[in-house]
């Protein structure tokens, strides 16, 4: 346990070693919120407007919730796994008395800790300058459910990143492109990280709900806002839980096969 605590501390220190990089990354997050915030602010400018099941308060809470939930779920360092495999650096870890999986999980937790601390600060800062209406959830059942959905979301994303990184075992030159396509484009849009998925027609929403993506961002915020009934929350937690198990099995299978073909190129 103590070695992972040390990894956590070292990883945290590494983030501070590249302060400009980190600050710029956070500035980008804030800028991205501006576009979405003002868009929804304009849509809900008329008092009493209700659209896609949201009122002004709930939609602007969704936008602010994005900062925190994205910081918790999408802030990871494990996207470097693909590079480790491609460069042959994985060998360094395989010979050490630690679990490669737990190593990256620890580094991700460190990244999330730092990002969430900053995200909370930014949320307060933006709240003070934009003064939006904000919905503070007080129902303990919903708050616990929100926490459960967040933990599942973080684990799903972590395993997804590892599966994508595993492509590097077979096609190291493609791993980066595949990662970019999934992480920057598909997951961003299909998870609700840009906008709530309710804006899409029901048929598209139904298809999206069959994938693991909405359970990363959209579903946890829906739970926080109390937009869905308890039965739908339980169903969602079950479906996302099943996805977590399925992805875990896929990851295990892919990783084992990958290690069999791994040749430590470049080492």
């Amino acid at each position: 346990m103590s070695k992972y605590l040390t990894i956590f501390k070292v990883s945290l220190a590494q983030e501070f070693a590249y302060k400009t990089n980190f600050i710029m990354w956070r500035v980008r997050n804030v800028l991205q919120v501006f576009l979405i915030f003002f868009l929804w602010d304009a849509v809900f400018s008329e008092p009493g407007t209700t659209l896609f099941g949201y009122d002004r308060t709930s939609i602007l809470t969704y936008v602010f919730g994005l900062l925190i939930v994205r910081g918790l779920v999408l802030s990871v360092k494990s996207y470097e796994v693909a590079g480790d495999i491609g460069r042959g650096d994985l060998s360094n870890y395989l010979t050490k008395p630690l679990s490669y999986f737990k190593y990256w999980l620890t580094r991700d937790i460190s990244s999330k800790t730092l990002n969430v601390v900053f995200a909370i600060g930014e949320t307060i800062f933006l709240y003070l300058i934009l003064k939006p209406p904000f919905y503070l959830q007080t129902n303990p059942v919903l708050l616990v459910s929100f926490l459960v959905t967040l933990i599942i979301a973080m684990l799903i994303y972590f395993i997804l990143i590892f599966i994508l990184g595993s492509i590097s075992f077979w096609a190291p030159e493609l791993a980066w492109g595949v990662g970019w396509l999934f992480i920057t484009i598909i997951i961003q849009f299909m998870s609700g990280a840009m906008f709530p998925l309710d804006v899409f027609p029901q048929a598209i929403q139904d298809i999206l709900r069959l994938t693991p993506f909405p359970y990363l961002i959209f579903f946890p915020i829906q739970v926080y806002l109390g937009q869905i009934s308890i039965s739908v929350i339980i169903k969602g937690i079950l479906v996302s839980g099943i996805w977590l198990v399925v992805l875990w099995f896929i990851f295990n299978s892919v990783w084992k096969r990958g290690l069999r073909v791994y040749q430590s190129h470049g080492k």
Partner: protein, 282 residues
Amino acid sequence: MVNKLDKIKGKIKVGKPKISLGRLPYYFKIWVFMSKNSFLMVLTRKKLFFMFLLGKILKFIFFGLFLYFIVTGSGELAGYSVEQIIFFFLTFNIVDVFGQFFYREVYRFRPILISGEFDLVLTKPMSSLFRILMGGSDVIDLVTIPLLLAAVIFVGSSFNPDPLQIILYILLIINAMIIATAFHIAVASLAIITLEIDHSIMIYRDILDLGKLPVDIYKEPLRSILTFVLPVGIMITLPGRVLMGLASPAGIIASFVVAAIVIFVAFKLWNIALKYYTSASS
């Protein structure tokens, strides 16, 4: 040794831009040559090329659909119809994609800088700035540009613009590209001073992203900042409004003045930045 180096440095006219109208054919020839090399390099990795192309198209479709559903759902956005909002989004894409097509090399400037390879650029008989900005066009955009232009013409024609509005729209897009050039020069200059480029170029992209929607939707003081300080409004909203017949002549003239000022400041910044180049690690 130090004195010798100082003497040599004094003789080399480091990075002085020598782009004049008379030398345009010379630079065009170099650009074609470098672009050809860049395209050939990309084509050796076809799968990766298709992946990035697919990503760009998906990003465009996802956000376009989102805007479409949102504005049709609410009836209008800040007084604009769904066609008008889509047109602003298309105009944003034109400026963004042309910027990436011409200035993709800026994204690759950091390795050149920190490896000391920039020394070689400075000693070549061409403007170092030209090489850093336009040394490698993005072949992916050769596919997306025609599709975008077709979409702009299709949606734009629904506003029934007269020839003057069309000419002004084209002139304002060129004007927007001048401002985009200034932004890229500023990013490259900051890279020399701070050695940081990845995030600063992405911050430029994020700021430009705010132009996906007309600046009218933003509240003060952000609206004024996006109009005068970070002239996203001039780059994207104004050309769109001109084609829709919603812009004032004073605004159009002011936009050309702003572009002239920012490009002048950017060139000055580049010359200042070059003095900070230490040629470390070369």
